[in-house]
């Protein structure tokens, strides 16, 4: 749990359980195991040879512990079976969105629908997310602040994502009638937590994407100078499942509300 910030479960809930090793055991684990293992052995032997056995043992214990931890991660990685559910790749393949990077294995994109609202009208912010990992993630979106969209302070929301789950968070917003026509940006920041470990990338996910710790978005919208009837964002925020690794097909019908 993350303090007072609500943790939202997508509707319908995704029952896909965590799978795969808790630690990834990738190239970084090999690097740490080799570096610290060699340092422990070499440093320890040198210190013992130079007549400082206590320092030698200390070196062996400290650096050896780090190496042993990395080796344990690698062993866990190889002991796990490789039968993992396949990802639907909704964002990159089905919806054909352009995804340049992931945030701790979560692909995300943020934009407005409509992105050309009139001043005083309502619009929606869509936050599409897809978990490429074999273990659950919590995606924290910090939306705003943007007083002209009714966000005097940043709106923070935590979205729970099961392994392989794709979902969309819909946040209705009202454009202030006094907002000047032209181009505007809504700043959105994404950070991802790994409550049950890292896991591995699911089959079907793209492996060559940059994996970042924090991703900053600037959702653009153009306020037109056409007069509109003032309307408040009446619908509540929604968090909808678009695909589950446990199901054969994605649930794109969940996006029906976008049809006008």
């Amino acid at each position: 749990m993350t303090g007072s910030i609500p943790l939202l479960e997508a509707s319908p809930p995704d029952p896909t359980p965590d799978a795969g090793p808790k630690y990834r055991g990738g190239p970084f684990a090999y690097f740490i195991a080799l570096t610290f293992g060699l340092t422990a052995l070499g440093g320890g032997l040198l210190l013992v040879q130079s007549g400082r056995p206590a320092w030698g043992v200390a070196c062996l214990v400290v650096f050896g512990a780090v190496a042993a931890r990395s080796i344990a991660c690698l062993v866990e990685h190889f002991r796990h079976p490789t039968s993992l559910p396949r990802l639907h790749a909704v964002l990159g393949d089905v919806l054909a969105f352009r995804i340049r990077s992931t945030c701790r294995d979560v692909a995300a994109t943020v934009f407005f629908d409509s992105d050309k609202p009139a001043a005083g009208s309502a619009t929606r912010l869509l936050c599409f997310v897809e978990n490429y990992a074999s273990r659950q993630r919590v995606a924290r979106f910090r939306i705003g602040p943007h007083p002209a969209l009714g966000l005097a302070a940043a709106h923070v929301v935590d979205l729970h994502l099961a392994a392989g789950q794709a979902a969309v968070y819909v946040r209705p917003l009202s454009v202030a009638a006094a907002l000047a026509p032209g181009e505007h940006d809504l700043p959105v920041t994404l950070q991802v937590q790994k409550p049950t470990g890292t896991g591995v990338r699911l089959p079907g996910s793209r492996r060559h994407l940059y994996d970042l710790w924090t991703v900053h978005f600037a959702a653009p919208f153009t306020v037109s100078d056409i007069a509109a009837q003032p309307s408040a964002a009446s619908e509540p925020p929604r968090f909808l499942t678009l695909a589950s690794a446990s199901e054969k097909q994605p649930r794109l019908d969940a996006l029906q509300f976008l049809a006008r």
Binding site: L95, F97, R98, R100, V110, D115, A218, P220, L258, A259
Partner: protein
């Protein structure tokens, strides 16, 4: 089933958002270049302090360290200026940043060719970063 019109609308809005994110990335490249350039400024400033405060002979006989520091400072300020401008005209700002940087460093090299070698790694990183800023902002520029 969703209509193709909805798909098309979503993709267009998402593509616009990606371009906006790339625009931020292009601005970031110019700022990173300014930061790298600030690191490259350490050695000329060290030389200047050495000459002015410790009254030692300049390590570089061809050019007074003050001139080197002045050019380096001007390049850094120009990069910061172009970074500020890139908020309004990212493509032209990135082009201007590269042109300005190359012109100032070229003028410095014309005074003392030895300066091309000093800090060559930093210069290469800055130029590559500015080329990246141009490529990023060009994608948005051509999409418009």
């Amino acid at each position: 089933m969703l209509s193709p019109e909805v798909f098309h609308r979503l993709r267009a809005a998402q593509l616009r958002s990606v371009h906006e994110q790339e625009l931020l990335s292009g601005r970031d490249w110019i700022l990173i270049c300014a930061g790298v350039h600030a690191l490259a400024m350490v050695y000329p400033v060290f030389l200047l302090i050495n000459v002015l405060r410790l009254h030692s002979a300049s390590l570089n006989q061809h050019l007074h360290p003050a001139i080197n520091v002045a050019f380096t400072l001007a390049s850094g300020l120009a990069l910061l200026g172009f970074w500020w401008w890139s908020r309004y005209a990212p493509y032209r700002a990135a082009l201007g940043a590269l042109a300005g940087y190359v012109a100032l460093q070229g003028a410095l090299a014309a005074l003392d060719p030895h300066q091309l070698v000093v800090g060559a790694t930093f210069k290469a990183v800055v130029i590559l970063g500015l080329i990246q800023a141009i490529l990023v902002s060009h994608r948005r520029h051509s999409a418009q």
